[in-house]
Structure formats: C-alpha cells, structure tokens
C-alpha cells in the first residue's frame, strides 16, 4: 500500500513539475524555415514583443502542421492547402494574409525554353504530393503535357515525375537519375552552386508558368482566441508583416542571423551566409496581402490543386477568412 501511494505521489509531482514549463501567457508564433521565415525576419531579428510576451519559433516544414494540430501556435505560417485542411472550418484558426507568393523553379541540365521539351524526361520534384508537386502537375496539365508518377508508365511521350528529397537533388542530377528538378529557393541557389560551368541551369520559373506570376503558397493563420482577446496585437503584427519586405531589402545581411537565432538548437538552417543574397531573397517572393481581400484568388488556386489531388485540399467555410481592415 505504501509503495502504491509513493508511486502515485511521485507521478503527481512529476506532472506538476512540468506545468511550470508551459507559459500560458506567451503568444507563440511558429513559422517554417525558408521563405515563410523570411516574411517575418524583421520581427525575428528584433524579437519584437509589441508590449506582450511573444515567443518566436522557426521550425522545419515537417513540424509546422503539428503546431496547428496541437494548437500550440497562436500565429503560424502554413502552406495554403494544409491551412485549408486543418483550419478550413474557421473554428480554431482564421486566415489573415498571404505571406509567400511562390518560390519554385525548375533546374536542369539542358537550357530548354518550352515545357514540351520535358516530354520523355525524368523530372525530380520536392514534396511531390504537396504544393510544389501539385502546382507543377497543374501547370503540366494546363499546358496539355502528359505526365506520370509511375515509372512503369514512363515513355517518350510523357514526363516522368519522381518525388525526391531536397537533399537528394544534386546527387540525382549528377548521376543522371533525373534530368530536371523542381526545387524551392534557397535550395535552387544551393543546388546550382554545386555545378560548375553552367552544367545545370535554371530553366523555368513556376510562378510565371502558373499564369498569374504568383500564387498564394502560404498563409498566415491566427488563433480565434487571440483575435477575440487581443485584436490590437494582431493588427500590430500584420502591420509589421506588411513592412517586412522593405526591411529585408535593406537588411539582407541580418536575415540569415534573424532566422537561425530562432531555429531549434541543432536544426540545419535553410539559409546560410553562403547561399543567401539579394537574388535569392527576390526569388523567395515574400510579401503580404490580405487573405480576405483575395479569397477568390486563394480559392481558385486551391481548386486548381484539388483538380490534381482531391485529398490535398479541405473545404473552406466563410468563417475561415478574417478581415482585419
């Protein structure tokens, strides 16, 4: 009996010890490493608090969805299609703005000018089942170019799309397993730097190929409770985001530090002083637009993705949009 009681008491103490670790009063901002983190780089660099207790977290792209699922994020930047899946009902989070407008490029060994020249080739694609792959498939479909994801169906009349990890792009190009690759900045710049004498070049800008020169790649979502309890903070945050692009243009040398200082210890940063410059910043296509004012544009983009993969997009309720104006 004594043993059971002491074990029970130990468990209670153990649980209580961790309650102090969770600060209920802090506002937690989560952004994925890469272009989305650039869109809040000024706030990351200055650790902007807005007279509140704000914690900034730069996480890997794989972890960002969990911050929404577990509702640890009060503010987050997430891929548009994932936002539609996890928050589309508007019951927990609302879409506030578009933060990145497309940073995908096709690189390859031959400097081609037409998508038709991809026929018969193997194109590696990062995140083939998410925004990069779905956007590229939509572009191919829209240009009446046959493609397949099945190696057994590949032939001279179609494009074989192969899902690859970002870390494999260079190796796959060097070993001729792929002729072209769909990559995002800054991976694009990093991969190109591994080839000499223009052996591999940038051939297509997916944003141009999409038709509108940009598409809503990621959204800023805010927890409903934060909007209800602290609208002033939300508006101040948005205001900073609207001015962020100017800050990054004027403080290119500070962007890498801004992001890496808020990365989890031990995580490999996307941006380093070797791969980040004005051109990469420009190619990351960051900015800020109201999601509410551009909901037709967002819905149209999601509908295009849905035409490729129905499960990739969730249903959007009218509650999903937040008009901060």
């Amino acid at each position: 009996m004594k043993k059971i009681f002491s074990l029970f008491a130990t468990m209670i103490c153990f649980c209580l010890a961790f309650t102090g670790c969770y600060d209920d009063n802090s506002i937690n901002v989560y952004v994925p490493d890469g272009a989305p983190a650039l869109s809040v780089s000024e706030m990351l660099y200055t650790n902007e608090q807005f007279n509140e207790n704000v914690t900034y977290n730069v996480v890997s792209a794989n972890e960002i969805a969990n911050t929404i699922l577990q509702q640890t994020a009060d503010i987050a930047i997430i891929p548009t299609n994932i936002a539609s899946k996890l928050c589309g009902d508007g019951k927990t989070y609302k879409a506030v703005g578009i933060c990145t407008f497309g940073n995908l490029y096709v690189i390859g060994k031959n400097d081609i000018t037409s998508l038709n020249e991809l026929t018969g080739e193997t194109v590696g694609c990062i995140q083939i089942q998410n925004v990069p792959g779905l956007t590229f498939q939509y572009i191919l479909k829209n240009n009446q170019i046959n493609y397949t994801l099945d190696e057994n169906e590949a032939n001279a009349n179609n494009v074989l799309l192969k899902g690859i990890e970002g870390t494999d792009v260079v190796a796959q190009l060097k070993t001729n397993k792929i002729s072209y690759a769909v990559v995002a900045e800054p991976l694009c710049a990093t991969a190109l730097s591994k080839f000499e004498n223009n052996e591999v070049v940038k051939v297509f800008d997916l944003q141009e190929l999409y038709g509108a020169n940009y598409y809503p790649q990621s959204l800023l979502v805010v927890k409903n409770s934060l909007i209800e309890n602290n609208l002033t903070f939300v508006k101040n945050f948005i205001n900073k985001m609207q001015n962020n692009k100017n800050w990054t243009n004027e403080n290119i040398d500070k962007c890498v530090e801004a992001i890496s200082n808020n990365l989890k210890t031990g995580a490999t940063p996307s941006f380093t002083n070797n791969n980040f410059n004005a051109e990469v910043l420009n190619n990351c296509n960051i900015g800020f637009m109201s999601a509410f004012e551009n909901k037709d544009f967002i819905e149209n983009y999601l509908s295009n993705l849905k035409s490729i993969e129905e499960n990739a997009v969730g249903n959007l309720s009218s509650e999903f949009w937040f008009n901060y104006e």
């Binding site: 969805a65 577990q70 996890l86 057994n152 499960n311």
Partner: protein, 253 residues
C-alpha cells in the same frame, strides 16, 4: 470445465477479449483527443476500411505490395538456403560468410532503405531492402538447423546405404523444416512490414506504403489507420497461412 470448453476459451474468447479491450482503449483516447486529424475513432476507421475495399486503387496497391513481399521473401529464402547449405558443407565458406551476415544484421534498416532508394528506383528498392534484411534471419535459422541434424540418423542412413536423394528429402529437409518454419512465418510478416516502410520512404506508386504516405501528407488519419489495420491483418494472415501449411508439409515430407 471440460477440455472442449477450455480450448474454446483459450483459442477464441481470450483473443476476442483482448481485441475488445484494444478497441475500448482506442475509443477512449479518440474521445479525449477529440480530433479526427490526431486520432479518429474506431468507427471512423472501419468506415474508411469499407471505402478502401470498394476502391480499385486500394486493391491494385494491395496486390502490388503483396506480390513484392512474396517475391522478396522467396528471394531471401532461396539465397539463405543456398548459402546455408554451402556454409554447412564447406567450413571456409561459413567463415567467410559469418562477418557479412553479422554486418547485414547490424546495419540499421533505415540506412539500407535510403541507400537503395539512391542506388536503384522506387519499385526495386523495397524488394531489395526486404530481401537483404530478412536474409540473415533465414540464413541463421537454416544453417543452425542443418548443424543440428541428427547425426546418428545420418550415420544409420549411410550404414543402410540409403540413397542420397532419400536422405535429403526424407531425412534432412523434414528436420530442417521442423526447426525453421516458425522463423519462416515470422520472417514473412517482417518482410511485409519492411516492404511497407520502404515503400513509404521510396514514394513507391501503387503500393500500400504509397497510400499511407499520401494519407499522412493529406492528414487523412482515418485512411492511414485503416491502411495500418489492413497491413496488420495481412501480416497475421501470412503467419497463419504458413502455420496452416506446416502440417500438410510435414505429412508430405
């Protein structure tokens, strides 16, 4: 309690009770999390299993994964059998093979998967991975059963000048099968698990692993759990199938 009732209790009721307890725990946790994106309820999952069974895409993926598993297992079995036989016959080969088998056994499975994905393609890599990882298990089981053959029985066969063919098929193989069939059945199930894991990492199209990867990416947790349940049932079915074959094989042998 008579013998028949006891047998029914042991073979039927106890497993059913365990399954019911698992489902109850699952249901409780699903209600606590209250989010289909984290943990759907058993009912949502079984509904999704029904949806899968009516989908042609699922059956194509199921058959492809099963065929790859059987191909990988057969390859493993044949190679392991041949190597074990050679090692049993020639001491030098046993000594040469021993470190290789140890290295293969010690190599992390994930490293093997990642390497084969780079060296081959999404369709071949899972087969090679499963073949290679199961090979040491089968080799060790077959080799040790060969070493533990009844030497007195073999000597008696020599004395009575029994034909070599009869020694192999009527003495050696039955003894080897008797001591390895459990390893065979568990290796087949392991092969399936490895196949699905490799398919997920390799993004193999038209496969159970590929469907799981898609379900995970799109937060279709019901579908992911449904595919997991199907894979578990398939693994148990494969084990049961081998155990079922055991008696007729032994009778035939």
């Amino acid at each position: 309690m008579n013998k028949k009732t006891k047998k029914i209790l042991e073979n039927v009721l106890y497993p059913i009770c365990v399954i019911v307890i698992i489902f109850l725990i699952w249901l409780i946790f699903a209600e606590i999390t209250n989010s289909e994106f984290i943990l759907p309820t058993p009912f949502q999952t079984f509904q999704e299993i029904g949806n899968l069974f009516s989908s042609g895409t699922f059956w194509i993926a199921f058959c492809n994964t099963l065929l790859r598993t059987l191909l990988a297992f057969l390859s493993s079995f044949v190679i392991a059998g041949l190597l074990a036989l050679l090692a049993f016959k020639f001491k030098a080969i046993e000594k040469i093979l021993s470190p290789f088998i140890s290295i293969i056994r010690a190599t992390p499975t994930i490293a093997v998967i990642l390497l084969f994905i780079i060296w081959t393609n999404a369709n071949i890599a899972p087969i090679l991975v499963s073949t290679l990882v199961v090979l040491p298990l089968l080799y060790t089981a077959i080799f040790s059963s060969l070493k533990n053959l009844d030497k007195d029985l073999l000597q008696m066969c020599k004395i009575y000048k029994i034909k070599n063919k009869d020694i192999i098929f009527k003495v050696c193989i039955p003894q080897v099968w008797a001591s390895t069939y459990l390893t065979v059945s568990s290796s087949l199930a392991l092969n399936l698990k490895l196949m699905v894991a490799a398919e997920v990492l390799a993004n193999t199209t038209k496969s159970l692993g590929g469907l799981m990867q898609g379900a995970k990416i799109y937060f279709e947790m019901s579908e992911l759990l449904a595919l997991t349940v199907v894979t578990v049932v398939l693994a148990l079915a494969l084990e049961y199938f081998v155990n079922l074959l055991n008696r007729p094989i032994r009778r035939w042998l």
